[in-house]
Symmetry: none
Subunit: 209 residues, 4 copies
DNA sequence: CATGAATGAGACTTCATTCAT
DNA sequence: GATGAATGAAGTCTCATTCAT
C-alpha cells in the first residue's frame, strides 16, 4: 500500500487536508466534466469548492495536482469496492458478480471516469505512470479471476486469450462510461450489465451452448 | 452529404487551401499526439507545417478549426474506405471483411484516431455535434450490416441487441487505437483482428457451436 | 540617543521581545545573505527562527521591520565596540587601533554587513534615513579622529580632505565585507588591516617618508 | 569576443531586437534605480519602454533577462570606453588618465552603476558568474597598468600589493557611484578625481615625495 | 498571398498579513 | 502569547489572434 506519489500541502492538520481535498475534488470533477481540465481555471475550482484561491494553493502545489488527486481518488474508490470480491473458489457466478459490481461502480462514478480517461494524459510523466499502473492493476484483477476460473476447469477459452478477454471486460465498462448518453436510450444499467455478461462470457463458459 | 460545418478561409485558390490544410493537419496530428491540443500552440503548428503563423491564419479562423479539420479528415478517410463494402447480400464473410478493413484503417491512422478520441471534446458545440454524428454513422454502418445478416437468417443474436453489438465492434477498434502499445506485445494486427472477429461474433453466428 | 524609529510589537514583555527579536535577526541575516531580502519569505524567517508565522507577527508589523532590525542591530554593535575608543589625545596609534577594531568588527559581522549594504535600499524612506544617519555617524567618528590628529599636528593632509579620507577608511572596510572571498586568498585579516593602514595613512603622516 | 550568455528572443529582425532592447534597458535602469529590481514590475518596464507587456516578452524570456541585459550593457560600454587606453609605454600619466576616464564614465553612467551593484546579486548563477567575470576583468585592466608601471620602474609599491591597489582604484570609483549624493556637496567630479589620484597614487610613485 | 511583430486578456502561482482558536 | 489556516492582491508569463508591410 505504498504511496507512489504524494501531493504536498503546506497545511499540517491531516483531517483538514482530507476535508478540503474532498471539496476540491468534487468541485474539480464537475468542472472538468463540463469544460475539460485545460479550460477550467484554478480560480473556478477554488470558488466551486467554496474557498479562496489562496486556500486552494495551501493544499496543492500546482493545478496538475488537482487532476492527479481526482484520478487517484477514483482508483482508490474503485479498488476499495472491487477488492471486496474475495474470489475464493473462482466460480462463474463470482465473475459475473464482479462484472456487475464494476459496471455499477462505473455508473455511480460516471463523471469521474470520464474525466479520468479524458484528462489523465495531461499529467506529468511520473503522475501518469502512477495512474497507468493503477489501470493495469484493474485489468489484472479480472485476469486473475479468469485464470482461476480457467484452472477450475470452467472456461473453454484458450489460456493465452485471457489477457485480451480481461481487457475486453474493462473496455466494455469504459463503453458505458463514455456512451451512457447514447446507450441509456436503449438499455437500463441492469440490462446493459446482463447483455454484457452474456456477450462477454458467451461461448467461453463450459456447459453453456 | 451536406457539409454541416465549413472552415472559412480568406484564400480563394481551392487547390492551395487543400494543400496548405493537408500540411497543417499532418503537423497538428503529430503535435496533438505528443502534447495534446491545449499544450500545442498555433505557432508550433505553423512552424511544423512549414509556414508562418500569419499564413496559418489565412486558412483557418481559430485554433479549434485545426482540430476540426483533423477530425473531419479522419471520417472522410474512414467513409471512403469502409463504404466501398456494398454489403449487397449481407454475408458473414462480408461482415468479417468490414471489421478487418476497419481495424486495418485504425492501425494505419493510429495517430489521428488517438488524437480524435482524446481531443474532440475540445470542439465547440456545433463542431462536436458534427463529429459525433459522423461517429454514429460509423456505428450505423455496422448496425446495418448486422441487421442484413440477421434478416439473412445468419445470426442467433436478438434483434434488439444489434446496436450493442455494433457499438462493440467500434469500441474494440478503439481498443486497438488506444492500447496498441500494450497489445502489440502479444498480438500482431492480423492476430488481433482474428481474435476480435472470433470474440465479437462467437456465439451469434448460426451453425457455429 | 533618541530612537528615530521604533518597531512596534503587540507583546508587552520586554525581555521576551528582546529574545524573540534576536532569534529572528539571526535567522533573517542568514536567509537574506543566501537569497536576498525579497526572495526570503516571512514564513521562512519564522521557521528558521523557531516559531510560527503568527508569532513572528506578534513582534513586528511588517516584513520590512525585520530588515530594519537587522540594520539597527549592526549599528548598535558597531557603536558599542568603536565608541570605546575615547580618542582622548588623538594619536596616530589610536587612529590605527580604531581602524583595526572597525575592520575586525566587519570581519566578525561579515554576514550582517553584507546584508545591510545589499538590502538597506529596500527600507522605507524613514527607516532608510535612519540607517543612513547611523552610517554618517560612523564616518563622522573617523572624521573626528582625523581632525584631532590634524589639530595635534600629526597629519600632512589638507584639512578639507579629511571627510574624503574618512569615507575612504569606511569604504575600505566595506571592501573587506564584500570581497573577503576574493581577498582572503591573498591576505589574512591581520595582513589586510596592516596594508590598509599603510595605504590609507601613507603620506598623510608626518615624519613618515 | 565570445558571448557567454545570450538572451533569447522570438523576434528575428536583429536590428529591431537591438532597438527594442535599448528602449527596454533605458526604461528598466530608470525604474530599477527608483524602486529596485524586485519592486519594479515587468508591466511597468514595458509601459515605460513604450510597448505592451506582450511585446516585452517577445524580446526576453524572463524578467531576470532584463537585469542581465542592463548589466551586460554597462560592461560593454565600460570596456569600450576604457579599452581605448592603449597603455603602450605604461607611464604614470597614462595611469592617471585611465583613472580619470573610468571615474568620468562612472559619473556618466551613475544610474546604471548603482543598479548593477545593487541588483546583480539577483541574477541566476550563470548570469551572475558572467557579470562577476566582467568585473574582475575591470580590476585586471588596472592591475595590468600598475604592473607595466612597476616594470617601468615607476612604482615604489611592492609587486605583491598591486592587486590590492587595483581593487582600491575600482572601489574608489564605486564610492563615487554610491555616494555621489553625499560627496558632491563637497567636491565636483574633477576635484574628486584629482583628490583620488593623489590619495591612491601618493607614495607609490617614485620621485614624488 | 505571405510574413512576423504587436497586442493584451487571462492563466497560474506566491506571499505578506490577519484573526479565530 | 502562540498557532497556523485563510485570504486576495499582485506578479510573471503565455499565446491566440490581428494587421501593416
Amino acid at each position: 500500500m505504498a504511496k507512489k506519489k504524494e501531493v504536498q500541502s503546506s497545511v499540517k492538520d491531516e483531517s483538514l487536508i482530507e476535508k478540503r481535498r474532498t471539496q476540491m475534488i468534487q468541485a474539480a470533477v464537475q468542472l472538468f466534466k463540463e469544460k475539460g481540465f485545460h479550460r477550467t481555471t484554478t480560480r473556478e475550482i477554488a470558488q466551486a469548492a467554496g474557498f479562496s484561491i489562496g486556500t486552494l494553493y495551501e493544499y496543492i502545489r500546482t493545478k496538475e495536482d488537482i487532476l492527479f488527486l481526482v484520478c487517484d481518488n477514483i482508483y482508490n474508490e474503485v479498488q476499495a469496492r472491487i477488492s471486496t470480491l474475495a474470489m475464493e473458489r473462482g466460480t462463474i457466478a463470482e465473475l459475473k458478480s464482479a462484472i456487475e459490481r464494476y459496471y455499477t461502480l462505473i455508473d455511480d462514478m460516471n463523471d469521474e471516469f470520464v474525466v479520468m480517461y479524458q484528462e489523465s494524459k495531461s499529467l506529468q510523466k511520473d503522475a501518469l505512470a502512477y495512474v497507468l499502473k493503477k489501470e493495469l492493476e484493474m485489468v489484472a484483477i479480472f485476469e486473475e479471476m479468469l485464470r482461476t476460473c480457467y484452472d477450475n476447469d470452467s472456461l473453454t477459452i484458450e489460456r493465452e486469450d485471457i489477457p485480451l478477454a480481461a481487457q475486453h471486460i474493462v473496455i466494455q465498462g469504459q463503453m458505458w462510461a463514455f456512451r451512457r448518453w447514447a446507450l441509456a436510450k436503449q438499455y437500463s444499467l441492469a440490462q446493459f450489465i446482463e447483455r454484457s455478461q452474456q456477450q462477454l462470457l458467451q461461448g467461453m463458459i463450459k456447459g453453456v451452448s
